[in-house]
């Protein structure tokens, strides 16, 4: 008769307990990656292919030498890859919503914010792994750090902070999209133009004035500048690196402030 005894019920979940539950859910996503590590290649092969294509096909024409172009482009490639990897939050969340896993989680006595927090926390692990992947390929091809290891770590931390904020855009897409495939379609239709109209592949100076104006405020350009400054320094990025770093953080704050409440609202409407 063990099942029929009335268990003790507690009135609410404490924040520490909620954090532990989020970490448990993050563990789940890490296990998914461990089972299928090359699932990452869905998005990461893209940047790696771009690194190879742009370096060897366009590199000579754009920058005069392939190794110069690789150095110029790789920080931007890491940024682009980071944006695409955030889509995993959206895809994972969408899968949970469509398969009913999200309902099961909500039916358990866990903190209301734990399922979402767990998703986003786990995404940071995937982010770190994919940054290493793209940088690793770059280094194999001859990319060399122009600053210090501290600069590189600073860039990685900045990328992760930005990813955390941008994950909320992916959450919104994941909630609104009908199925996981559509989350990926969003990636292609929105993120590709946004990264192409930036300074990731070519310097903005060569573009017409009106386009330059957009490129200069595009957060992807700003973050790329910050990464160039932190990883390469002179002559790839001249000027105070603190400027694009602070601007990137401000952008991250704005994205978070807009998309976090919007996503939570959309999620409440969907479930």
């Amino acid at each position: 008769m063990t099942t029929a005894t009335i268990p003790e019920v507690s009135p609410r979940v404490g924040p520490v307990e909620g954090l532990r539950q989020s970490l448990t859910l993050a563990w789940r996503t890490v296990v998914q990656v461990r089972h299928n590590p090359w699932e990452m290649s869905d998005f990461s092969i893209q940047p790696i292919m771009f690194v190879l294509l742009f370096t060897y096909v366009f590199g000579g024409a754009i920058a005069g030498s392939t190794s110069d172009y690789l150095t110029f482009m790789l920080p931007g490639m890491v940024v682009m890859n980071m944006l695409f990897v955030t889509l995993y939050v959206g895809q994972g969340l969408n899968t949970d919503l469509t398969k009913g896993v999200f309902d099961r989680l909500r039916s358990l006595p866990v903190a209301r914010w734990a399922p979402l927090a767990g998703r986003i926390a786990a995404d940071q692990v995937k982010q770190a792994w994919s940054i290493v992947l793209v940088l690793g390929v770059g280094m194999l091809l001859g990319f060399r750090l122009g600053t210090s290891v501290a600069g590189l770590l600073g860039a990685v931390v900045l990328l992760l902070v930005f990813a955390l904020a941008f994950s909320w855009v992916a959450v919104l897409v994941g909630v609104v999209a009908k199925d996981p495939e559509r989350v990926q379609i969003f990636g292609f239709t929105a993120l590709f133009p946004l990264t192409f109209v930036s300074n990731v592949f070519v310097p903005a100076e060569t573009m017409p004035g009106w386009l330059q104006a957009f490129v200069d405020v595009n957060p992807i350009s700003i973050l790329t500048d910050a990464c160039r400054g932190l990883m390469l320094g002179d002559p790839w990025y001249t000027g105070a690196v603190a400027v694009p770093v602070v601007q990137s953080l401000v952008w991250a704050g704005v994205i978070l402030a807009v998309f976090a409440p919007l996503s939570v609202w959309a999620l409440k409407r969907r479930v």
């Binding site: 008769m1 063990t2 099942t3 029929a4 005894t5 009335i6 268990p7 019920v9 507690s10 009135p11 609410r12 979940v13 307990e17 539950q21 448990t24 859910l25 563990w27 789940r28 296990v31 998914q32 089972h35 299928n36 398969k99 009913g100 896993v101 309902d103 099961r104 989680l105 909500r106 039916s107 358990l108 006595p109 866990v110 734990a114 479930v271």
Partner: protein, 320 residues
């Protein structure tokens, strides 16, 4: 005695659709309530409200005295939910799915693993414990899904169409598992589209249609009311059709339903079959089909509501 589940006047609307239109329920502890209704009747909506996943637009509901809206967290500690579609993580193995839930419920790692293996053994899934769920069959998924809702040994279990889509063997296996849980004292709320399932498992049946309760009672009471079985007769010669209709109608004391050359009638008296056979024989009517089977939900509906299940959908059909 306090009710395990109690609901009064539950209303839930989705835009123009009224999924629940004033539903009352009362379930005594340790019993099984079968919520019976056709597709779109509002079964899933009712379960989701009671499991705190949806907020009702009007009415109240309580589980073990805890209000499902104001005391949702307490309710979640008491209820295990198995939704209409298996909601397990396909990328994880069976053990990992159950350990995840144990950990979320606050069990230490070792305890969670132990409980996972215990449940997998109980549900005959030990061999598949370390396989990814995406390789599981439909029946295995269903069992794992049920196991997942039992990790915390909840005193109440909500099962939304637990056997829909399962083959007969998997279905009877699942029935057996549910019976075992009931024997342990678990209170069960079960939704189904099948009268025989409600009959086999439930102590009490609530029939709902278009978000409204249209009948309540024990399986016996309902069967008495609706004719628990149905008799079908198909004459060999089309010219005998009217003779068959009049014989069957006279003995059953209801006017039979005729589809093509098949005559069907709800039956509550077991002596009807031999009487029909005798009279047909006397009249010299040869039949190619004569069957007595459990009434389908459609027949129950026809009797209770006077319209076949889901027929209003056609009459309301879109203006296009």
């Amino acid at each position: 005695m306090e009710h395990a589940i109690w609901a009064e006047g539950l209303v839930k609307r989705f835009g123009q659709t009224t999924a629940l239109d004033g539903v009352d329920l009362a379930v005594r502890p340790g019993t099984v309530l079968g919520l019976l209704g056709p597709n779109g009747a509002g079964k899933t909506t009712a379960v989701r409200v009671l499991a705190t996943l949806l907020q009702p637009d009007a009415g109240h509901a309580a589980v073990r005295g805890y209000d499902v809206v104001r005391q949702a967290h307490q309710v979640r500690q008491l209820v295990g939910l198995t939704g209409q579609y298996a909601s397990v993580d396909e990328a994880l193995t069976g053990v990992e799915n159950l350990v995840l839930i144990g950990r979320l419920l606050g069990m230490p790692r070792k305890r969670a693993k132990q409980r996972a293996h215990e449940l997998l053994a109980q549900f005959n899934l030990s061999d598949a414990a370390d396989r990814a769920v995406k390789t599981y069959s439909g029946g295995m998924r269903r069992r794992l899904d049920l196991a997942a809702s039992l990790v915390g040994r909840p005193p109440l279990l909500f099962l939304d169409e637990p056997t829909t889509g399962l083959d007969p063997r998997a279905r009877s296996e699942l029935w057996e598992l549910i019976r075992n849980l009931v024997a342990e004292g678990v209170t069960v709320l079960l939704t189904t589209q099948y009268l025989d399932e409600a009959d086999a498992l439930a102590d009490e049946i609530v029939v709902i249609d278009e978000g409204r309760v249209i009948a309540t009672g024990t399986p016996e009471e309902l069967k008495a009311k609706t004719g628990g079985q149905s008799l079908a007769v198909r004459p060999a010669e089309a010219s005998d059709l009217s003779a068959v209709v009049s014989i069957v109608g006279e003995l059953a004391e209801v006017s039979p339903d005729v589809t093509g050359d098949l005559v069907t009638v709800p039956v509550s008296d077991p002596h009807l079959l031999p009487a029909v056979v005798r009279r047909l024989d006397e009249a010299g009517v040869v039949v190619t089909e004569l069957t007595l089977s459990s009434s389908s939900l459609d027949e129950v509906f026809l009797t209770l509501t006077g319209h076949p299940a889901g027929s209003q959908d056609e009459s309301e059909g879109s203006p296009a």
